[in-house]
Symmetry: none
Subunit: 255 residues, 2 copies
């Protein structure tokens, strides 16, 4: 019961080309060749191939696999343990890369916050009474916890007037772009709009990290509260609903 290349390929999940290649480099030779030059494999080769693929999954290169296949179990243990060290190094390198990314993102955020200033709208410093109103809503609906709110406030405790200006400017720019999108009849699920929503999400994320439900909940706040309605209506009458729809889609796709 010999396998042809295609059959072996299907069973083991590799390509025919891979089998050709493994033959070529001597990693896995067929059991025999037909006189038509066809390659025929048997159970033994299937088992060998499975071992090869096992090591390949572990990111061994084919040269090493070649060596491993000809070695005994003691050697295999050695090799595996040596490989483990390499993987651990990879691991910690990736971890440090992740930290670097986080730092860079927040740095860039700060930079965009600090960029030039145009007056699109006057500065609107916080009205504490209303703010509390929103907070009550967010807490009631379990969109944010008390801890979330505190951390969020800590983010801005050192902000100067200038910082608030930049912040509002970023938001206004974003909403202006969204208003254009509404005007152009773009769909909330279109790639362009979703990219803008991602910007919205990133801005929010700077203060607090929403999940699927809470991000949608935040959208609802925009609808419920007259102040938000008014704010968004300045850009476009249909913007609130459009934004909420787009946020929902974004949340369902990405969060």
């Amino acid at each position: 019961m010999a396998y042809t290349v295609k059959k072996l390929a299907q069973i083991s999940g590799v390509s025919v080309r891979t089998l050709h290649f493994y033959d070529e480099i001597g990693l896995l030779k067929p059991a025999y060749y037909g006189e038509n030059k066809y390659r025929y494999y048997e159970e033994e080769q299937l088992l060998l191939l499975q071992q090869i693929l096992f090591f390949r999954e572990l990111k061994f290169n084919l040269n090493d696999i070649q060596r491993i296949m000809g070695s005994d179990d003691f050697d295999k243990i050695d090799t595996l343990l040596a490989h483990k060290k390499i993987l651990k190094d990879d691991l910690s390198r990736i971890q440090s890369m992740l930290r670097t990314i986080d730092k860079t993102v927040s740095h860039l955020w700060g930079k965009t916050k600090m960029s030039e200033q145009e007056i699109f709208d006057g500065v609107r410093p916080h009205d504490d009474k209303k703010q509390k109103d929103y907070e009550t809503y967010l807490l009631d609906k379990k969109i944010m916890t008390q801890k979330d709110l505190e951390q969020s406030w800590k983010r801005v405790e050192n902000w100067q007037k200038e910082d608030w200006e930049k912040f509002h400017k970023s938001g206004d720019e974003l909403n202006q772009s969204l208003a254009v999108a509404v005007e152009k009849n773009l769909a909330p699920e279109s790639a362009e709009v979703q990219k803008l929503i991602r910007r919205h999400y990133e801005m929010v994320n700077y203060f607090w990290t929403p999940n699927k439900e809470t991000y949608i909940g935040l959208g609802n706040l925009y609808r419920e509260h007259p102040d938000f309605q008014k704010y968004y209506a300045k850009f476009h009458p249909q913007l609130v609903e459009f934004l909420i729809k787009a946020m929902k889609i974004f949340a369902e796709r990405n969060l």
Copy 2:
């Protein structure tokens, strides 16, 4: 104060060849060329190079870096956050590789130390009456032919108790993994689950080679027969249905 290739290379820690290459692909052009065709760089290029190297460290490929360098900070943030997801995936893949290595090493260690045997489940030698039941089903539904059955039996005619134990152990291990997958809410079409199904397919393939229809038919046998139901329920109540779904997907994709 222009740098020649070698000087810039030394300062930035790359090779001269790299600078040649970056010039060639347009990633970093020198400030100007001398009439001797020499490349001359200035501070501006040094800063650009440092940015390039920053992203290179984060494992961006040069194409992406090229794009990044021409984009604004918002786009950079997007790109970085997208990249972060990729890195996180890499991270968890490496973590699972480390676990696999540990398991393999201890397995090999056990093997070399003694030809141990673990009792995962008692041996269940065949009950002939029931077996005939299954065979009738398989023949009726044209899932296997008489010839298939005979060949399949020939495979096991020389099996010893040990062989059956090993066989059952493999099966149990596989089902255990699948049960974990169910528990983790993995989708039947996910790569992880499909890899497990491939193992199932290979085990079946040892006895008989199913095609798309018959492999799906085999799945149905599992649902129809109370013995199979009971067997799979031992691992997880939803396992049968999950397995059948996953087998169907596997068959449609690979057979």
